[in-house]
Symmetry: C2
Amino acid sequence: MAITVVGSVAFDSIETPAGRRDRCLGGAATYFSLAASYFTSVRVIAVVGEDFTAEQQSVFDARGIDTQGIERASGKSFFWEGSYLENLNEAKTHNTELNVFGSFQPKIPDAYRDSEFLFLANIDPVLQKRVREAMPKAKLVAGDTMNYWIKDHQDALREVLKGLDILLINDTETRMLAKNNNLVQAARGVLEMGPRMLVVKHGEYGATAFYGKSHDALGAKTFRAPALPLEEVVDPTGAGDSFAGGFFGYLASQKDLTPGAFRRAMFYGSVMGSFAVERFGTERLQQLSREAIDQRFGMFRELTHLD
Amino acid sequence: MAITVVGSVAFDSIETPAGRRDRCLGGAATYFSLAASYFTSVRVIAVVGEDFTAEQQSVFDARGIDTQGIERASGKSFFWEGSYLENLNEAKTHNTELNVFGSFQPKIPDAYRDSEFLFLANIDPVLQKRVREAMPKAKLVAGDTMNYWIKDHQDALREVLKGLDILLINDTETRMLAKNNNLVQAARGVLEMGPRMLVVKHGEYGATAFYGKSHDALGAKTFRAPALPLEEVVDPTGAGDSFAGGFFGYLASQKDLTPGAFRRAMFYGSVMGSFAVERFGTERLQQLSREAIDQRFGMFRELTHLD
């Protein structure tokens, strides 16, 4: 089944202990769609400026990603500059220029409207809600958000959460959203806001899925996927979006959304996140194969299985 | 097979968001031996003062733990006071009184000398080494340490590491010991110091075992056991020692130390750590059953298994 994703397509300047890259292709929708493209067909809704050229377009084309929903506006694309020099788990933002993204009004191509899978990447919740409402045929809707929207736009965000099947955020965001420092209690609080499933991304420690209204920390309504201990993290940018792309892409590729499919999706999310950080920007995600992905899936399985 | 453990038996005054307990029974050897006692017979080498009464003795007796190696000295027992008010993952120490522990010279009862499993809990590495040398029949030797010994007594600690089969420490200690912020590289560095296996305890995120001299982050020489997301952590004190007790106790109960036995031992370590934090001090560890332990083992298995 095809996924439609709405989110940012951007340029990033990134500095990590492994080096520096200026203005490489980035943005949540970019990482998400590249990761998901190894599992299913992907359609992108975004806006870019005149600095988005044939070079960037070819990255999407090479992976067969439908970009007719990427609007070309006059001006410059969204730009982010950050570093991870002290802590690979937390970016330090040096500069953010919204540019054409500041007045982004998502336009949904007619050809996208039959998408049964919808991913609302981290953008203004007002826009997330508008896209959700314009896609009534979506049968599974997942989304992301960030501390900024949780802190200063919680009313609008709460409206989005009501319509979400799956929310994917990190530990800090979960605690902040539920105003509770205990992760299990916070997860329950978030589930009460609407999503049927919450996937908490723990970075290098993997991710945990919480689901079911009456879930119990000791019961079967929790599932944890490990992350691979990595010898070298070159650039953590986009790891969470790549997790989401692997997770949701795998789900969209399945005929039936069984509990087993969700578990495997959690592992595929971890796998795609682990690939993303091996090179700067989207470099690694551009050159994968389903075979390499499944090989790493097997390693992850081996990493944590008893039998 | 019997385990001999050398380490502290102490009194702890603990404050957490769940409340406060004054002078409850604690110490690494106490947590370790209680946790291990559900799997195998345990013999303790320690020193206590006159404040160690029949009440504390009965805790060991009830679990069938051999305490003839616990020396009674004149003076007071080791005392620690700490809190976890801001961060459940890190204790803030308010007071440490070594008391009789300050001049501890481990004395090994003859009846202990045939122990094939030896655990060197977190004490002065000079004493760890002395006990190791006095127990030549030990065929599997594991140990723990802490930042203080890594920072200020590294030469003595290095001598201990040379004779260890398994070192169990946390993330911060691993990075500090190897002087490398990347966990996988740091783990390799620690393995080069002597231990055949390094178990890195990640607190609420579980634990990772690294082993084999030529280990590769992507290969089969890494194993990760999850921790259970817990609804309520009452008191984190002793979680790491309880992990070690479950891990090493399970190994000692096995006829053959197969790779599968090590994997299950990692899970049993996580299980015992998860029980320990449910009540203050050793309360929870005193009243378990092997049935309850195996039930939780099943939950852990379910938590992370694909099939």
